[in-house]
Amino acid sequence: MAAPDSPKRICIMGCGRVGAQLAQQFAEQHHDVRVIDMQNDAFRRLPDDGKQMRTFLGDGTDPSVLENAGVAEAAMFIAVTNGDNRNIMAAQVAQHLFHVPQVICRIYDPKRHEIYKGLGIHSICPTLIGADAIYFDLMGSHLVLDAAIDGIVEHQHSIEEQRQ
């Protein structure tokens, strides 16, 4: 990544492997990282080296929990719990109730991923990405890399459009 961005508030719902990994990456860039999970135990995945990270215990689909975590002032909201529906609902709360500029959620089910694309919810579908990666790896093709990069470029375009 080029010059470090100015610090932003980034709220992550779900402190599983992906959530904890993202939290660490953003914290290394000195962002104001806030992690929400229903289980206290989940926070053990976060590094305890005193990085800029705050944890909030609660159900991230509950607007009052998100309010406590300061989602209203967040620049990004990332919903990566293990439940598709929880992620979908929390993303919509962040988008419609708290007007977070950048909201993204993980949806494992490709069909639901497709439907919510139509409803203007930005989502990542690990099932499609994983299946593609394995398929193209076995077929000995580099297409997957291109496809992934295309996907990222496309995503960046849509973010730029939203900002304008």
């Binding site: 607007p63 609902m89 439907i115 409803l119």
Partner: protein, 241 residues
């Protein structure tokens, strides 16, 4: 399979609400067609013994399940699981993922989600918590502004509130509340006597007001009438009693 000409209801979630709903609909009209979707295998088997082929095992949030039961020609989707997020998603999938038009009705457990669900396109939102609070509110002075209707397109909704003993507004006129211009106090109930108040009406403790308010108006109403009494204290009020 031959289909009857009546209304077609898909119920998502075979808990107690789903079960009694299915039974009531089947008893209400012989022409009604009802499908009750239940995700859990054991629970679905049990429901099947009671209700027969009306029960289908499957997750109502899955496109494939809804496709299987013919969501496209459904007239109603009733989302009544115990999880708000599941109810929301099932309604949105049933609306967005299928051709045709159907009314979606969702149960919400967290009453803070009522407005959100309406904003997200659910046609009817039912909150047992809110309904019970409303009923209790008839008996107890609850220190909170209760929504009677959801906000209309113009953003106005009907609310109800009781005036407590130490309300900041006591002895002052309604106009002192500074409600937005398009907001109105539509009804004042004082000693079981109904009247339409004017801006000059002075409020007393134990008055009950019905008002048509915007989001901003609701906040001002809350501040003027409830002051220090917040919704959080409500819990204390009930427990103390």
């Amino acid at each position: 399979m031959t289909r009857k000409k009546g209304q077609y209801f898909i119920i998502g979630g075979g808990g107690r609400v789903g079960y009694f709903l299915a039974r009531a609909l089947l008893e209400a009209d012989a022409d009604y067609e009802v499908v009750l979707l239940e995700r859990d295998e054991g629970r679905a088997k049990m429901l099947k013994r009671e209700l027969g082929d009306v029960v289908v095992r499957g997750d109502a949030c899955e496109v494939a399940t809804l496709e299987h039961v013919g969501c496209e020609r459904a007239d109603f989707l009733l989302a009544v699981t115990g999880e708000d997020e599941d109810n929301l998603v099932m309604c949105q999938v049933a609306k967005q993922g299928f051709r045709g038009n159907r009314r979606t009705i969702a149960r919400v457990n967290n009453s803070a989600n009522i407005k959100l669900f309406y904003d997200l396109g659910i046609d009817i939102v039912v909150s047992p918590t809110n309904d019970i609070l409303k009923t209790v509110g008839e008996e107890l002075p609850l220190w909170r502004v209760i929504d009677i209707t959801p906000p209309s397109n113009g953003g106005l909704r009907l609310v109800e509130v009781r005036v407590p003993e130490n309300a900041p507004i006591l002895g002052k006129t309604i106009s002192a509340m500074g409600l937005p211009p398009d907001n109105t106090i539509t009804l004042l109930v004082r000693d079981k006597h109904n009247s339409v108040p004017t801006p000059q009406t002075t409020l007393q403790a134990a008055d009950k007001l019905f008002a048509l308010v915007s989001d901003e108006g609701k906040l001002r109403l809350e501040r003027a009438i409830l002051g220090e009494h917040t919704a959080a204290r409500l819990i204390g009020v009930i427990e103390e009693d």
